[in-house]
Amino acid sequence: MSNPIATIIAFMVLILVPGLTDLAVFASQDESKIYPDFSFSCTQNNQQFILKTRLSYWTGERDVPISGSVITCYLMAGEESRQLEAVRTDMDGDAVFRIDKKSERLESAGDIYTFRAVFEGSREFEMTEDIAAVKPLNMNLEFVEIDSIKTIMAEAFETDPEGNPVPLEDTDVYFYVPRSFSLLPVGEEWFMGGTAQVDFPTSLPGDSAGNLTIVARIQDHELYGNVEAVAVKDWGLAVPRVIVEKRRGLGDTDAPLWMVYTLIVLLSIVWFHYLYVFYVMIKIKKLRRN
C-alpha cells in the first residue's frame, strides 16, 4: 500500500509543475515584450481639443506603426480619472480624439485640463502611457486693410474663472497658407495685449474666386500646447479654373471614339440578326395554328 503523504506530494507536484511551467513561459514572454514608442500631443481651436497619439516600435532599422491597438483617453480631475474615449490606432499607428470644449465630460476639471492617453499593452507590446496638460485659449482671425495694406489680425485670450477674457501676452504666432503639399509661411508675429498683426502678401494665387485659407498657429506652447485658428478670405489672386480637355486613347479611361463606334456597330449588326431570328422562332410557333 502506498504512502498517502507521498501520494499527496506527487499529486501536488503534478498540479503545480504545469502551473509553474506556464508561469515561467509567461515570465519569459513578458521579458521578450517590446517597449513601443508612444507620443501624445494636443492641438486646440475655439471649438475642440484635438488629441493625437502615435504608437510604433523601433525594429533597429526603422519605425513600424502599430495598427489596430486600442488607446484610451482619460481626463484627470484631481484624484479622479475620467474615461473620455477609446479609439483604435489606424494603419499609421495614429489614434485621434476630438473633445468638444463645451462637453459635459470636461466639467469641473479645473483651469488646466490634464489628458492621459493609455495603451494597455498586448501579447507583444508593453503597456505605455503619456500625459498632456493644456489650458483653453481662444484665438480669432480678423482681416483688415490698413492704409490699403492687407493685414491679418489675430486676437487670442483665455478666460478667467469669472468668465472675463484675459488677453494673451508675449507669445509667438505663425501665419500660413496651405498649398498643394505643405503650409506656406506668410508671417510671424508676437502677441501684445492679446493681438498680433502681420501684413499679408498680395501675390498669392487663390481659387477661381481668389479665396485663400489662412492658418494662424501657436506652436508647442508650454501652457496651451498647439493652438490653431483657420479662416478663408478672398485676398488671393483669382485663378481661372483650367479646363483640361478630356482625352480619349488606349491609356485613358475612355476609349477612342472610332473603337466605341466600331464595337457598337458590330454588336448592333450581330444582335439585330439574333433578335430577328428570335422573331422568326415566334413566327414559327404562331404558324402552328394555321
Binding site: 476609349a255 440578326h273 430577328y276 422562332m281
Partner: protein, 442 residues
C-alpha cells in the same frame, strides 16, 4: 408533323442509340465521370490552398489553363465554319456531319471559358470586368466576342435541330417515354413542317450561318490579339490573328473527324458517315495543314531574320532540345507534315488513317498553344528577380493535369448526353435528301 415511312425507319434506326445504354457506354461514362470528380477535387484543393498548387508563378502567370482555353475555343470552329459554310453552299454531303460539328461548337465554347475562371485569382471580383471593363482591352473584346459567339452557336444548333425535335415529338415509337415527349414538344416550338414554317426556319438558319462565320473569325482573332497586342517576344506579331484562325479550323476539323469516327465505330453508322465524308474532311485537313505550316514558317522566319535580342532568345529556346525543342518539333513539323502525308498518300487515306492524322493534329495543336504561351512568359524582358527553379521554369502540377483531363472528360460526357436527346445524324435532313432523291424533278 406527319412522319412518313422514311422518317419512321430512320427513327427506328436511331431510337435504340438514344434510349438504351450499352455496357461500353456505362464504362466510358463511369471513367469520364470519375475524371470529372477528380477535377472537382483538384478544384477544391486549388480554391482552398490558392494558385500556389498550380505551376503558375510571378513570371509564368498563364499556364495550361490558358492553353486549354485556346484549345477548346479552337475546336469550336468545327461547327461554326464547317457547318456554316457547308450549309450556305448547300453541300449535300454535309448533312450527316453537321449535327456533330454544331454540338462540338456549343460544348467547347461552354467549356473553354471555364478555364479562364480557373486562372483568375480573385473570382470574387469577376463582375468588375462588367462594371469597370475598358473597351480598349482585348480581354473585354474577348468576353464580348465569346459570349456573342456562344449565343449564336446555340441558336444555330437549336434552329437546325427544331425539325428533328418535331419529328421526335410526333413519333409513335414506344421507346420514347413521356418526359422525352414533353421535352421534344417544348423544344419543337410548334413546328409542323408547314410551308410557311419551313420558309421561316430556313431564313433563320441562313441568317445565323452567315453571321456565325465572321463571328467565329472575329472570336479567334480577338483571342490572338490578347497575345498580339502585348510587346512580348513571340507574341507581338501582325499575322497572329489569321494564324490563330487557321490553327483553330485545323484543330476543329481534327476533332470533328475523331467524333465522326467514334460514332461510326460504336453506333455502326457506316451507312451515314461514309468514307467520302472522311476523305473530304481529310482533304480539308491537308489543305489547312499546308496553310498552317506556311504561317508557322513565316512567323518564325520573320522573327529569326529580324535578330531582335529577345525574339532570338525565345527562338533558341524553342529549338533547344533541353528546353522546348521536342515540343516544337512535334507541333511545327510532325503535327503538320505527318497528317499531310497521311492524307496525300492514297494508301493511307483511309478512315482510320485520316483519324490517326486528326489525333496527331489535335495533340500537336495543344502542344503548339503550350509553346506559344509558356516560353514567352519564361523569357521576360526584365531579368527575373526570383531564382527559385519553380519560378524560372513552369511545370504542370497534378492539379492542372486533373482539371485538364476533367475538361476533356466533361467534353465527352456533354457530347454523350447530347446524343441521347437528339439523333447525332439529322433525321429531317436525311429524310429530305431521300425525298429529293426519289423525286425525278429534283
Amino acid at each position: 408533323m406527319e412522319n412518313n415511312s422514311k422518317v419512321s425507319a430512320l427513327l427506328a434506326r436511331f431510337a435504340p442509340q438514344m434510349t438504351r445504354t450499352t455496357r461500353l457506354e456505362k464504362v466510358l461514362v463511369t471513367i469520364c465521370g470519375g475524371t470529372v470528380l477528380w477535377g472537382v477535387y483538384a478544384l477544391y484543393i486549388q480554391a482552398t490552398k490558392g494558385h500556389s498548387v498550380t505551376g503558375m508563378r510571378d513570371n509564368v502567370v498563364w499556364g495550361v489553363y490558358i492553353v486549354n482555353f485556346i484549345f477548346f475555343i479552337g475546336i469550336s470552329y468545327a461547327g461554326a465554319l464547317i457547318s456554316g459554310i457547308l450549309y450556305l453552299l448547300r453541300v449535300e454531303w454535309r448533312k450527316p456531319i453537321i449535327r456533330i460539328a454544331e454540338i462540338i461548337t456549343v460544348i467547347s465554347t461552354i467549356l473553354g471559358p471555364l478555364y479562364i475562371l480557373l486562372c483568375i485569382g480573385r473570382l470574387d471580383r469577376l463582375h468588375h470586368l462588367l462594371l469597370f471593363g475598358r473597351i480598349q482591352s482585348p480581354i473585354t473584346w474577348d468576353v464580348i466576342a465569346i459570349t456573342t459567339y456562344l449565343i449564336g452557336s446555340m441558336i444555330f444548333l437549336f434552329l437546325a435541330t427544331v425539325p428533328d425535335f418535331a419529328i421526335l415529338r410526333d413519333s409513335r415509337n414506344p421507346m420514347f417515354g413521356k418526359w422525352r415527349r414533353r421535352f421534344y414538344r417544348f423544344f419543337a416550338i410548334g413546328y409542323k413542317d408547314k410551308e410557311n414554317q419551313r420558309r421561316f426556319l430556313r431564313q433563320g438558319i441562313t441568317i445565323i450561318s452567315i453571321i456565325i462565320i465572321p463571328l467565329a473569325v472575329l472570336v479567334h482573332s480577338v483571342l490572338s490579339w490578347i497575345f498580339g497586342m502585348t510587346l512580348r517576344p513571340g507574341w507581338h506579331s501582325t499575322i497572329f490573328a489569321p494564324y490563330f484562325v487557321v490553327a483553330a479550323v485545323f484543330s476543329g476539323t481534327g476533332v470533328l473527324i475523331i467524333a465522326m469516327w467514334a460514332f461510326r465505330k460504336f453506333y455502326h453508322l457506316e451507312e451515314y458517315l461514309q468514307e467520302k465524308h472522311f476523305r473530304y474532311l481529310g482533304i480539308l485537313l491537308m489543305v489547312l495543314g499546308g496553310l498552317y505550316g506556311y504561317f508557322t514558317f513565316s512567323e518564325y522566319l520573320t522573327g529569326w531574320y529580324g535578330s531582335e535580342k529577345w525574339e532570338l532568345h525565345l527562338i533558341y529556346k524553342l529549338f533547344d532540345r533541353k528546353e522546348f525543342g521536342s515540343m516544337f518539333v512535334y507541333a511545327a513539323f510532325i503535327g503538320v507534315l505527318v497528317p499531310i502525308l497521311i492524307v496525300a498518300i492514297p494508301k493511307t487515306r483511309t478512315i482510320n488513317g485520316i483519324t490517326i492524322a486528326s489525333v496527331i493534329v489535335i495533340t500537336a495543336m495543344w502542344v503548339k498553344r503550350y509553346i506559344i504561351i509558356i516560353p514567352t512568359l519564361e523569357t521576360p524582358l526584365l531579368p527575373m528577380q526570383e531564382s527559385r527553379m519553380e519560378y524560372v521554369s513552369y511545370s504542370i502540377t497534378w492539379v492542372e493535369w486533373a482539371l485538364t483531363f476533367s475538361g476533356i472528360a466533361a467534353f465527352f460526357l456533354f457530347f454523350y448526353f447530347s446524343s441521347k436527346f437528339v439523333p447525332i445524324i439529322p433525321v429531317s435532313e436525311l429524310a429530305e435528301s431521300n425525298a429529293e432523291d426519289n423525286n425525278p424533278e429534283s
